[in-house]
């Protein structure tokens, strides 16, 4: 991976510019989307329909904090 990027870099810097191609290679190789969020927690024996069920509330929440998305 590193060797490939170095090779692309050396091409880019020594010969004019194949910038778009080298950037694409870098983006594909090194820049991955964020990881999937962690699973929402278990639902207790209290049930969920119409109740204060934390995972169900998190799934429908509008804010990232309430949705239990990962904290940067």
């Amino acid at each position: 991976m590193l060797a490939a990027v170095l090779a692309v870099c050396s091409l880019a810097f020594e010969r004019g510019y194949a910038g778009a191609a080298s950037l694409e290679a870098m983006l594909d190789g090194a820049l991955q989307p964020s990881a999937a969020p962690a699973l929402l927690g278990p639902i207790t024996e209290v049930g969920r329909v119409g109740w204060a069920c934390k995972p169900e509330q998190a799934a429908g929440a509008n804010s990232w904090q309430n949705a239990e998305l990962p904290r940067p």
Binding site: A30, P37, L39, L40, R48, C53, S63, W64, P72
Partner: protein
């Protein structure tokens, strides 16, 4: 008076939707009714045992309890809830296909089960089933269009599948309600960079690192876009910051060192 009736009706509805901590003493001699009561009691007790096992991360024991509940085949919402909890145990045991099956089954039994949809998408992403993840994510967004998790998860699925249009839309909509969430700015920047919209990508990556200065991957991404735009000094500075951060993961750090030195040596 009418308000009292409505209140009383809500109360009985509410009672029907919860699993009681203690089951009532049987007031019947009918064998089928007694059997049904015994099954109901076993379901409640196994829920308690399974949840306690999940709390102490004893996934094997938890799975055994929820599997038994499913064999007992209770009605809703106990059935889909047991499958949801079983899926959590399976996922932690790295039985991702089994987890996905239970979540699919939970959603089939309760089509409005949002938490099951959220977890199924996460499981599908982990097992690399982007097709199922997308189908569930579309359903999740349709059921809860304002849900942060629905938009964020579908954006991730779309980005991994190469559907940059949906990714841009979903992360953009997500950010309208959550403008300070650095990960969403990073993911939106990736979608923009993949369509060669480097000016927009630069802006998103810059916001991401402004919001979370230790976010090395976003800073690296910013460096690559700056480089593409011919802003070499700024790009080098971005790579140098990543390279100098010992907390960065080693692979990314090595890459940043190589990029920084490549620009320097020119």
């Amino acid at each position: 008076m009418p308000a009292l009736i409505v209140f009383a009706a809500c109360g009985s509805l509410a009672r029907a939707q919860m699993y009681p901590h203690s089951t009532p003493a049987p007031r019947t001699t009918s064998v089928p009714e007694l059997r049904a009561l015994a099954v109901g009691r076993e379901v409640v007790e196994r829920f308690h045992l399974g949840l306690a096992a999940e709390q102490r991360a004893d996934w094997q024991s938890a799975a055994a309890e929820f599997e038994r509940i499913i064999v007992l085949n209770p009605g809703e919402p106990a059935n889909s809830t047991a499958r949801y909890d079983l899926a959590i145990a399976y996922a932690n045991m790295h039985r991702l296909d089994d987890a996905a099956r239970q979540l699919q089954s939970a959603i089939a039994r309760d089509p409005g089960f949002l938490a099951a949809m959220a977890n199924l998408i996460a499981v599908d992403l982990s097992r690399g089933d982007l097709r199922d993840a997308r189908a569930v994510a579309d359903r999740f967004v349709a059921a809860a269009p304002d849900s942060a998790r629905a938009l964020y998860e579908r954006g991730l699925v779309a980005l991994r599948s190469g559907d940059t249009v949906t990714a841009r839309n979903d992360f953009g909509q997500f950010l309208q309600a959550n403008p300070k969430y650095a990960y969403a700015h990073y993911n939106l920047g990736l979608a923009q960079a993949k369509t060669n919209d480097f000016a927009s990508a630069e802006r998103e990556f810059q916001i991401a690192v402004d919001l979370a200065p230790a976010y090395a991957r976003a800073r690296f991404a910013l460096g690559t876009v700056l480089l593409r735009e011919g802003k070499r000094a700024q790009a080098r500075a971005a790579f140098a910051t990543v390279a100098g951060d010992s907390a960065t993961d080693p692979a990314l750090r090595n890459l940043a060192v190589a990029m920084r030195d490549a620009i320097k040596s020119r």
